[in-house]
Symmetry: C2
Subunit: 753 residues, 2 copies
Amino acid sequence: MSHDTSYTKQKFKLIGSRVNRPDGIDKVTGRARYGADASAPGQLVGKVLRSPHAHALIKKIDTTKAEKLPGVKAVITSADMPDLTGGNRSMLDILENCMARGRALYDGHAVAAVAAVDEQTARQALKLIKVTYKRLPHVTDVDKAMLPGAPVIHDWVFTSGVDPKPEKASNVVQRNQFGHGDVEAGFAEADVIVEKTFKTEQTHQGYIEPHACLATVGPDGHGDLWVTTQGHFHFRQVCAALIGMDVAKLKVTSSEIGGGFGGKTHVWMEPVALVLAREANRPVKLVMSREEVFKATGPTSSTSVDVKIGAKKNGTITAAAAELRYQGGAFPGIWGMLGAMTSFACYDLKNVQSVGYDVICNRPKVAAYRAPSAPMAAFGIESTMDLVAEEIGMDPVKFRIKNAAKEGTQASYGPVYGPIGIGPTLKAAQNHPHMKAKLRKNQGRGMACGFWFNFGGQTCTDLNIGVDGTVSLAVGTVDVGGSRASLGLIAAEELGIEYEQVKVHIADTASLGHNDTTEGSRGTFSSGMATIFAARDAKDELCQRAAKMWDIPVSAVAWKEGKAVAKGKRHNNLAPLTLKEIAAKSPNTGGPIAGHNEVVADGAGVSFASHICDVEVDPETGATKVIRYTVVQDAGKAIHPDYVEGQFQGGAAQGIGWALNEEYIYGDDGLLQNAGFLDYRIPVCSDLPFIDTEILEIPNPNHPYGIRGVGETSIVPPLAAIGNAVSNAVGVRMTHVPMSPPRILKALDEAGV
Amino acid sequence: MSHDTSYTKQKFKLIGSRVNRPDGIDKVTGRARYGADASAPGQLVGKVLRSPHAHALIKKIDTTKAEKLPGVKAVITSADMPDLTGGNRSMLDILENCMARGRALYDGHAVAAVAAVDEQTARQALKLIKVTYKRLPHVTDVDKAMLPGAPVIHDWVFTSGVDPKPEKASNVVQRNQFGHGDVEAGFAEADVIVEKTFKTEQTHQGYIEPHACLATVGPDGHGDLWVTTQGHFHFRQVCAALIGMDVAKLKVTSSEIGGGFGGKTHVWMEPVALVLAREANRPVKLVMSREEVFKATGPTSSTSVDVKIGAKKNGTITAAAAELRYQGGAFPGIWGMLGAMTSFACYDLKNVQSVGYDVICNRPKVAAYRAPSAPMAAFGIESTMDLVAEEIGMDPVKFRIKNAAKEGTQASYGPVYGPIGIGPTLKAAQNHPHMKAKLRKNQGRGMACGFWFNFGGQTCTDLNIGVDGTVSLAVGTVDVGGSRASLGLIAAEELGIEYEQVKVHIADTASLGHNDTTEGSRGTFSSGMATIFAARDAKDELCQRAAKMWDIPVSAVAWKEGKAVAKGKRHNNLAPLTLKEIAAKSPNTGGPIAGHNEVVADGAGVSFASHICDVEVDPETGATKVIRYTVVQDAGKAIHPDYVEGQFQGGAAQGIGWALNEEYIYGDDGLLQNAGFLDYRIPVCSDLPFIDTEILEIPNPNHPYGIRGVGETSIVPPLAAIGNAVSNAVGVRMTHVPMSPPRILKALDEAGV
């Protein structure tokens, strides 16, 4: 069961080629089945009643009228979702977020749900549910929520990680500190110190497909869940625990996914759908509206970040510090911690300290959004890096190169780096033609760096060889960004067959061992590792079969380039056997040929990127147009370069939207004012330039093919790169994201420009 | 990969207990999803146009009007299903049976198909297809089809197995002979010889659920098929080959199955659904009507059988011979061969010979029906056994016991038996209270024996242990008779956990290696074997993990009664670890815990039964009522006795229907006159007595748990047992099944009773 995971330099035949994407035709012809595309006989329509208040006591819920409405088959509240968590507070948080327990904690928080024979009846039933609220004071701003007089949302939250332990509950969940050296001493050595505060607003991942599922649960306690998710095994585990099912008795099938970006890593309404189905003893389909997606699923944190960097005139950073305050919505999170960990990861610093805070507000529970927490930290740090460079009169790229982390650097969050890509991406950016292109009036150029950890984790893969020599690869990591193509390439490469011979399926939870969620850019890294080992397992079996066919010892058989080869002069007469030939005989040589692997994929490789960006700002309107954008990123090994470039471009595009326009706008009443794509503006094609990409390949030493993971790092630099570009264009330092037209005009006004 | 398959006597904790059936609630609440219960967005309704002639040349098919009908998305004929079989005649037969190629070969043979937006449009489209036929001579009776002047249905069928090779094509596909010794010499030794001819009519399996599927195929050549089937892996292989897909690119999911009994082992319309879906580029749902099920799926053979048995006065059989003619429908089959093999399998005979013929007629292609071919052979042989016993004045049970096969007997079809159950079932029948019960006027008692081979074959199982210690067992053999319960019991027994901790799923073809079809009573035998080995594989891994948790060598760990136990005095301080405890830690000890097995399950154990039956015949109407029925059968090991008894009862019930009422009635025009349950009468509850059962357990030496397989043998004796009982009741030997009222009255008339 133990396999050598270390990187082996090799000449790939298929890896790195741009084969057709396996889901392309399904997606353009409408054959792909998304979360809302499943149906079952007798299914009901589920609907959720949501709080119209930012914070309110639920004094009473009267469901009698709704229950009596003909066609209504189930009406549930938190009373129907008892606490089975056995004192596990974080599980109870998930349950409470799915269905309010006594209090509504944010605008849109679920308070009841119905299942009815059709949409109209379900809507009518929602109207017949009478909820008696008592409004409570609310807070939605991260800084205000930390003030001593702020309304305390949970009386059981006592800040952890502080000394002495607090005596009073507050909205601050935890304080996490990272770093090393002596920052005070470092700042004392500095010739120049820049200190600045930055803010970013809350954004949503903006996936096209709303959350949707089809749930059934029988009176025997067995259930099925079809759902759009990034992690159906995780959903199985959480749903089973929350509603009291055995893990094995809940079968979860992941639909095709219409975007997730972290937002589909958590359950939001699936336990509700399962309980409705159990109550009604009928399948229940629950599909969120766009408004529900905005109000009641997990956007990213809004943040407030202080950065202080000191440097010598020669460009050496002597000390760097940051305090990062992350708004996590109505429940505890780890967002401030992640922000603090990523802050200074790009640099080789003697004295560094970052402190992260997780802060509770009356907003929806925050979820991961692509390299969660890193972009906001990078906005603060990379903006400040430019300011320091300016102060000491050094080119900002050179300044970064001088301080870049390298192999052997102790990262600010702890570990010592192996071979890494920050230096190479910075040098590639420095040498990129983009860097020398001329700028015109009202235009500015900025650049910034970004870092993401990348994850590994539990992974299982089954590889089954058909009698015609085609291969079914069953994997358990949902394909959010091309992993079916990359894993197909990996299986084909390892077996020495054609890519077209491999079909990759995302197996349901009943057919494969547990797989961690597709997040942390772990899909191709970890399922790739499990696929390599499963394929090697299958090759061992193929050699066994060849030995049987030849009637020679298996020790005399080797697998070479997709063929079993008989070794030694004695066997010169034996022509190599292809996988196809061995497969065709398999019914008579021992039955189906398979390979399996269960692994905890350790050794995920850190990833770095450097982005360059040109903008043009209209000083009259404050509108910014990105006119050129270049991503340079280390991919470890780019299995399928098209997808890698697509990830680079997608991250940059989302970052551009975040930097310039996207934000949750809450009124003083604590209600969300723009819960729809008309008022929450994500970039469309015409808003974006073609995003240029440059892939660097610095192999991850802990993966047989050198894979790192590529999906997340590309969203880290954009806020800062655009912030630097806009600042350079308008001559005023921008410190608040999104840099929307009103905010740019305000900054110009304040600076008297 | 090699495992010891031999039987080990052991004390079972769970095996043999009557736990709740896992599919029970799903089936009674309607949650179970059958073939027609799947839907996909944009799906079309498929319909098939069928021949109104028994045999006709298709001169022209004009589909232009149908194609122009608004809402019609695809119209296909055999021209759209080109021959890709590369000269494989039996594959071409399957294709041709799915869609007529130039000739319609039976009433109901598919000639064209449409896919349209709704049922009404599809029906209308069928009416707009103009087929120009030229009728050809036809033959539907097996004996007539063998006559020299019979219309020869295929000019490429030359009888195999005869010497000299025939020069002319005929309807006789093959002649197969089995046996040993010298029958002529044997008959010469006999004191008594009985020679008789028997006929049986064609019957249908009569499953409640008609054939149904939902097919999609994209322009990329990837497809999905949801289908009611006994073998989704086989369906995948056949469909892929017929329509030119890679095996791995067709994902087949088996629905819950509403009965199959052999009739759902073949594709009938699934390739048509796939081609319609490919043409329309939309999902196509194809559901047969009951009339289509009768006319165009596979019933069993009608037969004509000559039997000759000679015996000494002391009861020793000196010679036995049979010639068996099996009507196989419009395409070649192996039904006569199977009939000839099973004929004399119950007896220890010195001189025995059986000859089987497969005969083509203008009827639907015959399919397996529960112990296919054996009941008709048994009807002839077991009726004749009674006649011989009568002639020599011996009790028919004693006569059978005297000649029964035993361990070491060379079977008439070749092999030498190991420990077998024919003697024990006969003795149990002899001693059964039923045998001594009094009979009244117009009542008669009969008994008969039956045999079935049982099959093994290719099987794969994946066993995955969840973090809460519940187990997902993914198997690939469709559950037609309780295998989910029996395999759950086996997994739980082997792991030493509770039955309720195991959930058995039938995995789709994308998630598991190839499994042969559930037929030949192989489900629990072969998947049971693969489950045992997969569980043992998982136990090895559990011991590894326990060793890791304890930090001791794995050699010091043993698995005992569901727990890892540390061996040796040194480890006395280590409390045993349960599966649940080890599973809970699995994320930190190496990831998900699984067991896998791919096996060719050899060593299926032969199965024998002895049935006793009492009937009462109304001499006025000829109506027969079965008033008491007892099944004694060797189960090898009865994993779940409820299901075993259910199988015994189900087989007997179907046999009773076959014996007394069911038959395909063809007119002189070659058209089927009773294609519906009103005119084709299967027994309902009120037609049947409670069927008593007695399970014997003679372990199969080639299976770790001694399993043989129980589903089929129970349909073998009923025709003969009832034939003997009716003959005893009315005093006239019945030689034609079904013994329907008109046929009994005719026999009485002819005998002058």
